[in-house]
């Protein structure tokens, strides 16, 4: 109970201090990012990797169950996918060797994981990341392939469960590990790095960030040249920032009290937002790596030639520059639009049919916000709908205000934009109707008229608002403005 209380206190303290943390520059962060590759089959056997909706232990075979006498065979597409990522991260790709990482755990059917050690698939790359208005170069130490273990589930909580169940469907799914140099300085920067990495992986079509468990991160953190702590079990983008904030505060508190940081491995408890010590340096596993004798060395180059890329891949930075050039939109809008491939594709579909500049602000300023507010994705509002909405606005059939209303109603209740416009009678009011409303507004509000004439510009807005009310928002604001001024 004492410990729990302490944790509670620390967690509260962190929120108060989080703004300070980002100011300091003596923090050193390195990430090991594990992502599942979306190959059809597993890394060393023919079992399907699409296990998420399947019954437990239905995607298994003698190889991924590690039955006696079974041998691994490399999935060449996994090597090709990994090579694409490595190239996108500007790494040098090399002839590569698999190793056995030996440790016992119930989710590991062979008692070792086939991974890489010396001679990883790729080394020495980098990724440019925006940080506080400037671009920072985050070096990539290595990129390698390994197999995912199975998955343990517990009845109830991990502490109280009487037994655990093992599902080997995940066993052997290809994981790509990307290891950075300790070049990251803040939790926010770490999160940006991850977002950008995810973006690249999705652009390359080798990763599906929506799949549960498709991303796992270990973070190494140290302060002021001290010993590092490795935080394991981070499985979301937000989690990375949270775990790092906690860990940095924890270390700072210890340092402030004059306590040395010892090298250790810590576990991130996402629900509680804290890290817990798992083992000290002395208790570290000795993985007894040695070259996997059942697999020959793999040369990625001939495989890349054997499976050429079907379509030219445009990476986010290149796409952003093209958007600015081709669609004449701002750097800001281009950056937002290319921050995810589905969004960029969505934008281009719309921009092909309407004014690209209008399309950009409708997508970024309106649609994104409405979707995020409702926790929806782009699937909820097809590009054709947005084209309809924008066309109606530019043709003067509906006002911008009415257009936003249309989008909201479609998202909340369904239906097509045209149906909603008709149903809600949102067509822009005809000029004579506005003229009538303007006359009424002036007659009904002598005080406002007097205020306007005595120089109070705000009174004009009041009158415009009255006209809007009378026309149920369907009056064109510019026209209304002009008519009021003429009348007065």
């Amino acid at each position: 109970m004492v410990a729990a209380g302490f944790i509670q206190l620390e967690a509260t303290a962190i929120q108060k201090r989080s703004h300070m943390i980002t100011e300091r520059t003596d923090v050193v962060i390195g990430l090991e990012v594990h992502v599942q590759l979306t190959t059809h089959s597993k890394l060393f056997c023919g079992c399907s990797t699409r296990y998420q909706d399947s019954e437990p232990n239905t995607h298994t075979c003698p190889i991924c169950l590690g039955l006696p006498g079974s041998l691994p065979v490399i999935n060449e597409m996994a090597v090709v996918y990994a090579e694409r990522v490595a190239k996108a991260l500007s790494c040098s790709v090399q002839r590569t060797q698999f190793y056995r990482k030996n440790y016992y755990y119930p989710d590991l059917p062979k008692g070792f994981q086939i991974s890489q050690y010396d001679f990883p698939l790729a080394i020495n790359g980098y990724l440019m990341v925006d940080s506080e208005g400037q671009e920072r170069r985050i070096r990539i130490r290595r990129v390698h392939l390994e197999e995912d273990p199975g998955k343990l589930t517990y009845r109830g909580t991990i502490e109280k469960a009487q037994y655990s169940l093992i599902d080997y469907n995940r066993s052997g799914v290809p994981l790509l590990e990307v290891v950075t140099e300790p070049d990251l300085r803040t939790p926010k920067e770490a999160r940006r790095f991850l977002n950008k990495l995810r973006n690249i992986l999705e652009y390359l079509d080798v990763f599906d960030g929506n799949l549960e468990g498709s991303l796992r991160v270990d973070a190494n953190v140290s302060i002021a040249g001290g010993q590092r702590a490795e935080v394991k079990n981070i499985s979301s983008y937000k989690g990375v920032e949270k775990a790092l904030l906690f860990e940095i505060t924890r270390q700072r508190n210890l340092l402030r009290r004059g306590i040395h940081i010892t090298q250790e491995t810590r576990h991130f408890d996402e629900a509680r937002g804290i890290t817990i010590s798992l083992r000290s340096k002395e208790q570290e596993h000795d993985y007894r790596y040695f070259p996997e004798p059942d697999l020959a060395q793999v040369d990625p180059e001939p495989l890349v030639k054997k499976f050429p890329q079907q379509v030219e891949i445009e990476l986010p930075d290149t796409k952003r520059r093209r958007f600015i050039e081709q669609y004449r939109i701002s750097d800001y809008l281009a950056k937002v639009l290319t921050a995810s491939k589905p969004l960029a594709d969505y934008y281009e579909t719309v921009a092909a049919l309407v004014d690209p500049s209008a399309a950009a602000s409708w997508v970024v300023d309106v649609l994104q916000g409405e979707l995020n507010y409702r926790g929806l994705t782009l699937d909820a509002f097809s590009p054709a709908y947005l084209v309809d909405v924008i066309t109606n606005v530019t043709d003067g059939h509906i006002t911008e205000k009415a257009a936003v209303k249309v989008i909201r109603i479609v998202l909340d209740r369904g239906g097509t934009p045209c149906e909603i416009i008709d149903e809600q009678a949102l067509h822009t009011a005809p000029a004579e109707q506005i003229t009538t409303a303007v006359k009424q507004a002036i007659e009904e509000n002598p005080q406002a008229v007097a205020d306007y004439q005595s120089g109070k510009k705000g009174a004009l807005n009041f009158l415009v608002g009255q006209v809007m009310k009378k026309t149920r928002g369907r009056a064109d604001p510019a026209l209304t403005n002009r008519l009021i001024q003429e009348q007065l």
């Binding site: 590690g66 006498g69 065979v73 056995r100 040695f290």
Partner: protein, 458 residues
């Protein structure tokens, strides 16, 4: 005689036998396969012929124990590549043969199912680890057999039991379905009473298998059709390093006499030396044990296999299952292998063994620039008594001294009977360059035809 009658006789011989050559006899399956061979439903080069299978090779629906309590009740859901080949040729799988537990031994005494005995003297070991395969073939409890050879496990029992056995070039025969002991060195190979039968079985099981990444994508020669080729002019090297201290004079003499026979047939023999061989035994054991320590980590009683503990946390479950499921020798090798791979010892042991292996390979490559084949005693002595060496692991490891260099160098070696000491057979090995199995069969066949040492050859 019908195939069914032949198989009934063989099953009868097994039932009456004192050898303990089989762990599992495939009564129903064998009878059905023989009947199908009689009706012609099954045909092929091995139709109606009984084959004993070392119990380290996976057979679908037929338990595969590796002679360990750990796998006492394990029934594989798939066939090894070589078993599929045997089925394609109509073979009768007569049973699963006794062996040293997880192939760790040279005497077939470490089997959980009790030791196998030598058909020439029931007080002696048949050799190992494929002891049951060689003993069953020698005692006509099987027509042919498959063994596996990591450091001599086919050649040693072939030599002790007076039959013919081949360790193929590494990668020649798929290991898919062979329960791993020392992956980087082992091969499945044929055991038979005659050179010709051995050659036929080799042709059937050899060949590329994409399911084994170390399998060689090279055509397999028709070894059985070049048996009678003239061997006049062949250059044979006799490395003196294989005739060192501890070699029984009777064995040395038999081997030298055999070389004389080959010279009479026109071959030219020269003594040579391979100085790196002094590292072979240590290099072999370090490498085999290292690989074994990792290969055997999967046996923890979770998905399959021996399980005594299910009510505690996984540490205790794993420990108790492994402690009670493995025999003494297996535990010794797993512990030593774990040590050799540990941080701080890897360079001193594992890496050093790899370096020695490179030297040994280079020595063989150099020798094969000069010689077509090398000849040496397979074993330093004839079969020893059951119980004689089992309490002294080092003396048992040392019996592999002449067989392990071949595995380290990935080259093929064929053991053939070349003499006797009393009743007990003596074997010599003919070692060739990689992929030269056909030449080894050719030399052995010429030798067998011109001598009387092989009791079964006529």
């Amino acid at each position: 005689m019908s195939h069914r009658e032949h198989i009934e006789e063989t099953l009868d011989a097994i039932d009456r036998s004192d050898l303990n050559a089989f762990i599992t006899v495939n009564y129903d399956g064998a009878r059905q396969q023989a009947a199908e061979a009689d009706t012609g439903e099954l045909d092929g080069r091995l139709a109606g012929i009984s084959v004993g299978i070392k119990d380290a090779i996976s057979t679908k629906g037929l338990r595969t124990t590796c002679a360990s309590q750990m796998l006492e009740h394990y029934v594989p859901p798939y066939d090894a590549f070589v078993i599929r080949r045997l089925h394609e040729e109509g073979a009768v799988l007569i049973g699963k043969t006794n062996m040293d537990e997880f192939s760790m031994g040279a005497s077939t005494e470490t089997s959980f199912f009790g030791p196998c005995k030598n058909p020439w003297d029931l007080n002696c070991v048949p050799g190992g680890s494929s002891g049951g395969s060689a003993a069953s073939v020698a005692a006509q409890e099987a027509d042919l057999a498959l063994g596996s050879d990591t450091g001599g496990s086919i050649r040693c029992p072939a030599s002790f039991c007076g039959v013919v056995g081949l360790k193929p070039t590494y990668g020649r025969v798929s290991r898919s379905g062979l329960v791993s002991y020392g992956n980087s060195m082992e091969q499945i190979g044929p055991i038979a009473r005659t050179v010709k039968a051995c050659a036929v079985l080799f042709e059937i099981i050899a060949g590329y298998d994409p399911a084994d990444s170390t399998s060689l994508d090279t055509p397999v020669p028709r070894c059985a059709s070049s048996l009678a080729d003239d061997i006049a002019g062949l250059k044979i090297g006799v490395p003196i390093d294989f005739f060192g201290e501890g070699v029984d004079p009777a064995v040395e003499n038999a081997t030298r006499d055999a070389i004389d026979v080959l010279e009479d047939l026109g071959a030219r023999a020269t003594e040579t030396s391979m100085s790196s061989l002094k590292y072979a035994l240590s290099a072999y054991y370090v490498q085999a044990m290292s690989e074994a320590s990792s290969n055997l980590a999967r046996y923890c009683g979770i998905i399959y296999g021996h399980r005594v503990q299910r009510d505690h946390d996984w540490h205790r479950t794993f420990s108790e299952n492994r402690a009670s499921g493995f025999g003494k020798e297996v535990k010794r090798r797993v512990l030593l292998g774990t040590y050799a791979l540990s941080a701080g010892y890897y360079d001193k042991y594992y890496l050093k063994a790899l370096k020695a292996r490179t030297l040994i390979s280079a020595d063989f490559q150099k020798a094969f620039k000069q010689y077509d084949a090398l000849i040496a005693p397979t074993m330093p002595f004839v079969a020893f008594k059951i119980g004689e060496k089992i309490e002294d692991p080092l003396s048992l490891y040392k019996v592999d001294i002449n067989t392990v260099p071949v595995n380290l160098a990935n080259v093929p070696s064929l053991s053939v009977p070349c003499g006797r000491k009393g009743r007990l057979p003596i074997g010599m090995q003919i070692i060739g360059d990689k992929l030269k199995e056909a030449l080894l069969f050719n030399i052995a066949w010429q030798f067998e035809r011109n001598t009387e040492f092989n009791k079964y050859a006529k």
